[in-house]
Symmetry: C2
Subunit: 602 residues, 2 copies
C-alpha cells in the first residue's frame, strides 16, 4: 500500500490556517430556525476570478460536511483545495469566466462561527451550548454574505452531498437570486440507513469519556477516539464496495504501519486508523455533531407530493447528478428530486454517472470527464441576468451556434414539420439531441429529452438542452398528464421491450404523440422472408443481422394500426416514407414504405 | 413504532440459561491453528429429533456471530430459538425426519469455552489471554462433538453468515463426513467493506475506557458503550436500505421512548439504542472480538483459482443461497463459491432469492417460501449413507417419484433421443426441470441446469436436480472447456439478446450442443408477412403478439445455418418438426417445419 492510496481529495486537508480566507462579521443577533440565537456571526470565505461588470457571473460553491472555504488553490504555491480538479482556470468551473465564492458553513470550525468560537456573551467557547442549526440557517447566512459582496443574483449554486442540501435550499428559498442550481450526489433527505450511520458516529463521540459533555476545549485534545470512530465509519460510507476491493483486497493481510492506538491488523484497518487520527487533528467534535445533526434534520419531504411542494418555488434551471455506486446518497434519491422538478414543470437535466467511486466520486478525478462536462456545459448555457421568474416553466433556450444535421435521418425533418409552431415537446430516446437541436431553431416553447445513454446525455447538456437520463421501459410516472403538447418517439419503439407502457405513457404525458418506426411490411423485407426464407433485415436503427440488431420488436404499419385500434388510440396522420428515395408514399404504404411516422392521441 | 418493529429473530435472544443445553468436556490441551492452546474445552449443544438406526439423518446447524445452541424451541413452553421458523416438526429442517444438532461455537459466551470461561490453569477468566482462534478451530471442535455423539457422517451441515463459513470449512476439511452442505448468505471471505465495519466495531470496544485491556470481568459491566456501538453498526449492516426505509421512514422524527444513554432523536436512533443496550446485557465483549476476528481471518482465497483449490477437496452435494438485498455478504460472493464448485465439477444448486430483508433475510420469515423450500428440497434428496467419495463428480440422482410430461413440448423427447446414453448434460434455460427430469429416467452420468427464474430454480431443487440460477447473457465463464458431453438450449435462443455469447459458450463448455428454436421460415409465418402484411406471429415460447412476446430474436433455419457457417460451427444433424402434426420434416424444412433441433459442435 502506497502513501497515495491513503490520500483522497478530502484527507489531504490540514489544519493549517487558510491564508486566503477573508472574513465578514455580522453584528446583532442572528435568529435561528429552531429558536436559537447567536449574538453575532463571522463568515470565512474565499473568492476566485473576477466579478464581471453586470455582476452576473458569480458561482457559489457549497462544501460538504468536513470541507471549508478553500475549494481550490489560488496559485501554484498555495495549499491544495478540496475541489482543485473542478475549480480553477480552464477547469469545469472556470475561474477565468466565473467569479467563484466558497464560504465555510455556519457551525463549522474553519473560520465561520461554530461551537469552537468564543461566545461574546460569556467569553468562552460555545461548546455544547451552540444552538441547534439547520441547513436553512446555513443558507440564510450565505445569502447575507452574497448580498454583502454586492451580488443580487447568482449565476449558479453548486454543491455536493451536504452542499447539495444547501444548493436545494438556495433554489427554493431565494428563487429570484439563483439562475442555475447544480445538485450533486445529494438527496431530499437522508435515507434511514445514512441517518443511522450518523447516529452511531454521534453516539461514539458523545459517549467518549473525553467528550466531557462538550466542554473539552480547555482539557486536552477532546474526544479523539469517538471522533475517529465516527470518521472511520464515514469513510466506509464514502467509498463504494468496489472501490474498497480495489484499494484493499490485494494486500488485505499486509497493512501499512501506522502509529496509532487503533487496530491495524488489516490493510483497510490501517487506512481507517490513519483517516481517523488525521481527522481528529483538524476537525472539532462539536462541529461534527452540529453539522451532522443539521444534515439529519434536513427534509424536503417524505413523499413525492411533499417534495414537489418543497421544490415548487424554485425558478432556476437545474442540473442533478448522481453516481451509480453511491450508496450513501443513492441515485434513486436524485431521481426523486428530478421527478419532483418534472412534475412541477421545471427545467432540469439529470445524469446518473456510471462510477466505481461511491459517494466520493464527485471529489475524485475518475469520473470528471462526465460530471465535469455536465457542470461546464450547464454553466455555459445559463443566463445570469434577471429574468421574469414566472417564465421558468417555459424557459427560452439560447440557440446553439452550430447544428448537426444527420443526413441519414430525413425523418427528423418530417417529424419536425408535424409539430405545431410553439408547441412544448418531449423527445423520448432523444440520443445526443440532434432532433431537439433542430426544433430549437424553430423556437418551440419548451424542449426536453429523455435518454438512457450517458454519453448522449452529456452531449445534450453540452448543447444546452434539458435532458433526463431514464429507461423508457420504466414509464414516465412523474410527468403530469398532458404536460407536453407533443411527445416524440423517434425510431425507438422497435428497441423497447414494454411497448404498451411506453405508448400509454407518451399519450398520457403528451396531448399528441408522434412515433416513427421501420416498417416490416416493406416489400423488400417481405421478399427476404417469403422468397429467400431469411429473417427480414431491418437496416434502420442498429446492426442489421438477426443476432446483432438493437431491435427487439418487429412490426408492420398494419400491425401498429391494429395496436392503436385495440388500445383505443386515435391516429391523426400517417406519413409513410421510402427513405432510399426520400419519397412520401401514398399508395399501399404497408408494402411500399420502409418508415412510418404516425401522429396519435388518446 | 410498535414493540414488534424493535424485535427480530435475533434481538429476542436473552441471557437466560439454556435449560436444554447439554455439555461435553474434552480434557487435555486443544491445540489451535494459530499456535495457541486451551487446557481443556467444554462444548454446549442441543439436539432435536431422533437419530435413526443407521445414524444417517444427522443435520448440524452452525450459528452466526451472536447465536447459540438454542436454534429452536424444544416444546411450547420453551424460550424462542433463533431459527424457530426453519427448525422444528414439519418445518423445512424437519425434526420429525432429521436429528438436528446445534452447538455454541468455540470462543462464544453461551456455554462453550470462550474468553469469559475460567482458565483452569489460572483460576481466572481468560479475558484478553484467550488465544486467537479460527473457523477451522471452531469446526474441529464441532467435529469432536459429532464423533462423541457416535455420528460418522452428517447428512448435512447448514449455516448462514459466519455459520456459512463453518459449513464451507466442514465440507472441505471433513469431506468423508458430510453428504450435503447448505451455505447460506455467506462468502469465501469478507469483502473489504464488511471487514472495515468489523474493524470499526472492534476499535469502539477496545478503546472504551471500561474495556480495561479486556480484564473487566471483576469491574462492573465492562465496555457496554463500545459493545453497543459495535452492535448498532452491525444492525445497520444486517438490514437492507429498503428494509430500513420501510421500518423507520414513516415516523423518522417520532422515535419510540427508550431508557438509554444513547441518542434517541430519530426512530432509527431509538431502535439502534435499544439493540445496542440489549446486546450488552447478553453478550461478552471479548467473545465479540474473538469471533469477529475469526470471521475476518477466514479466507478461502482472494482469486477464483485459490477458491477452487480450497473447495476442491469437498465430496458433498451443495446448496448455496444468497439474497438480492444482502450487501454485507453480497450475492456475487455466493456466486464466486458456486463458480468454484462448478469449475471443480461438483454437484451444486444455487439460488439468489429476491428479498428485501438484507443479510438478515435468512433469519426472517419473509422469504421462507423460497429458501425454506430450497433447504427442505435439498435435504430430501440427499443420501446420508456412506458413498464412494470419488464419485462426487458424477453424482447419481434419485429418480423422482413422479414425472411431469408437457404434451406441448414434443421437442423434449426429440432432444432426449439425440443425447447419447450416459452422457453428462447441461441444460441452459432449464425452466422447472421437465426435460432434465425426463433425462433422469434414462440414467445419464450428470445432469445440471441453468435457469434465471427463481420459482423455476426452487422447483428444480425440490425435484432433486442440480440447478444454478444465472443469466445466460452473462456467459458461462466458470465452467471448464468441454466439461459436459452435451449442452442443451431448448427454445431459449430466441429469447436471448446476446446470441453469439450464448452459442460460443455452449460449444466451449459442451462437447456437443443441441439447440431448438422456432423457425421463422415456416410457410404459415411467411404468409403472414408476405400475403397479409403482418408481423409473423411465432406461437412457440411466450405471448405471440408482436408487442408482448418474450421472443426478441427471429430467425429461420437458413439464418441459423448461415450463422454456423460464419462462426465455423459444425452442424451434425438437424431435426425439423411440424409440431402441429408431430411429423419430422425432411422436404424443404426451412419452409415446412415450425421447429428445428440442431446438433452442433465447434
Amino acid at each position: 500500500m502506497t502513501n497515495n492510496e491513503f490520500e483522497s481529495s478530502d484527507s489531504i486537508r490540514t489544519a493549517r490556517p487558510l491564508v486566503h480566507a477573508r472574513t465578514v462579521t455580522f453584528d446583532g443577533p442572528l435568529h435561528l430556525e429552531r429558536g436559537g440565537r447567536l449574538p453575532s456571526v463571522t463568515v470565512a470565505y474565499e473568492t476566485y476570478g473576477e466579478l464581471n461588470d453586470d455582476r452576473s457571473n458569480a458561482v457559489l460553491i457549497c462544501h460538504a460536511l468536513s470541507g471549508d472555504s478553500h475549494v481550490a488553490r489560488h496559485d501554484e504555491s498555495d495549499d491544495p483545495g478540496w475541489w482543485d480538479i473542478a475549480v480553477g482556470p480552464g477547469k469545469p468551473i472556470d475561474t477565468d469566466r466565473y467569479y467563484v465564492i466558497c464560504a465555510n458553513v455556519l457551525g463549522g470550525c474553519r473560520g465561520t462561527t461554530g461551537p469552537n468560537s468564543i461566545n461574546p456573551e460569556t467569553g468562552r467557547a460555545y461548546g455544547p451550548d451552540f444552538p441547534l442549526i439547520t441547513i436553512g440557517d446555513i443558507v440564510n447566512l450565505q445569502q447575507r454574505l452574497i448580498a454583502t459582496l454586492g451580488i443580487k443574483r447568482l449565476l449558479a449554486v453548486i454543491g455536493g452531498s451536504l452542499g447539495g442540501h444547501m444548493a436545494l435550499t438556495w433554489a427554493t428559498r431565494y428563487p429570484e437570486q439563483v439562475a442555475g442550481t447544480a445538485a450533486i450526489a445529494t438527496s431530499p433527505r437522508l435515507t434511514s440507513q445514512a441517518l443511522a450511520f450518523d447516529v452511531v458516529g454521534r453516539n461514539a463521540i458523545l459517549q467518549d469519556s473525553d467528550y466531557q459533555g462538550g466542554r473539552y476545549y480547555d482539557q486536552g485534545p477532546g474526544p479523539r477516539v469517538g471522533l475517529a470512530i465516527a470518521r472511520m465509519l464515514g469513510h466506509i460510507t464514502y467509498l463504494s464496495r468496489e472501490a474498497m476491493m480495489e484499494k484493499f483486497d490485494a494486500d488485505r493481510f499486509r497493512p501499512r504501519e501506522v502509529a496509532t492506538q487503533f487496530e491495524t491488523k488489516f490493510s483497510v484497518g490501517s487506512y481507517l486508523a490513519y483517516q481517523g487520527d488525521r481527522f481528529g487533528e483538524r476537525f472539532d467534535a462539536n462541529s461534527y455533531i452540529t453539522l451532522s445533526m443539521a444534515m439529519d434534520l434536513f427534509d424536503l419531504g417524505g413523499t413525492q407530493e411533499q417534495l414537489a411542494e418543497s421544490l415548487r418555488p424554485a425558478r432556476c434551471r437545474w442540473l442533478v447528478i448522481s453516481y451509480t455506486s453511491d450508496w450513501l446518497f443513492p441515485p434513486f434519491q436524485s431521481q426523486q428530486i428530478v421527478d419532483a422538478l418534472l412534475v412541477t414543470n421545471q427545467s432540469v437535466s439529470y445524469c446518473n454517472v456510471v462510477s466505481n467511486c461511491g459517494h466520493d466520486a464527485f471529489l475524485l478525478p475518475d469520473d470528471l470527464p462526465s460530471y465535469g462536462t455536465l457542470v461546464s456545459g450547464f454553466l455555459a448555457n445559463l443566463n445570469g441576468g434577471d429574468t421574469d421568474a414566472s417564465d421558468s416553466g417555459t424557459v427560452r433556450i439560447r440557440k446553439p451556434t452550430s447544428i448537426f444535421h444527420d443526413p441519414q435521418r430525413l425523418d427528423y425533418h418530417m417529424m419536425a414539420d408535424l409539430i405545431p409552431e410553439g408547441a412544448s415537446v418531449l423527445d423520448l430516446g432523444c440520443g445526443n439531441g440532434v432532433l431537439l437541436s433542430l426544433l430549437r431553431e424553430r423556437d418551440h416553447a419548451r424542449l426536453m429529452g429523455i435518454e438512457l445513454d450517458e454519453l448522449a446525455v452529456v452531449e445534450c447538456v453540452r448543447r444546452g438542452l434539458d435532458v433526463v437520463q431514464a429507461d423508457l421501459n420504466q414509464g414516465l410516472a412523474n410527468f403530469a398528464d398532458g404536460q407536453f403538447d407533443v411527445v416524440l418517439l423517434s425510431q425507438t419503439l422497435q428497441t423497447v421491450i414494454d411497448v404498451q407502457t411506453v405508448i400509454r405513457e407518451m399519450l398520457r404525458v403528451g396531448k399528441r404523440g408522434i412515433v416513427s418506426f421501420p416498417n416490416l411490411g416493406y416489400h423488400k423485407l417481405r421478399d427476404q422472408l417469403a422468397q429467400r426464407g431469411r429473417a427480414p433485415l431491418v437496416a434502420l436503427g442498429g446492426g442489421s443481422r438477426w443476432y446483432e440488431t438493437h431491435n427487439v420488436r418487429f412490426l408492420t404499419i398494419a400491425d401498429f394500426e391494429e395496436f392503436c385500434r385495440d388500445h383505443a388510440i386515435t391516429i391523426h396522420e400517417t406519413v409513410a416514407l421510402d427513405t432510399e428515395t426520400g419519397d412520401r408514399i401514398s399508395e399501399d404504404p404497408n408494402r411500399n414504405a420502409d418508415l412510418a411516422i404516425v401522429v396519435l392521441s388518446h
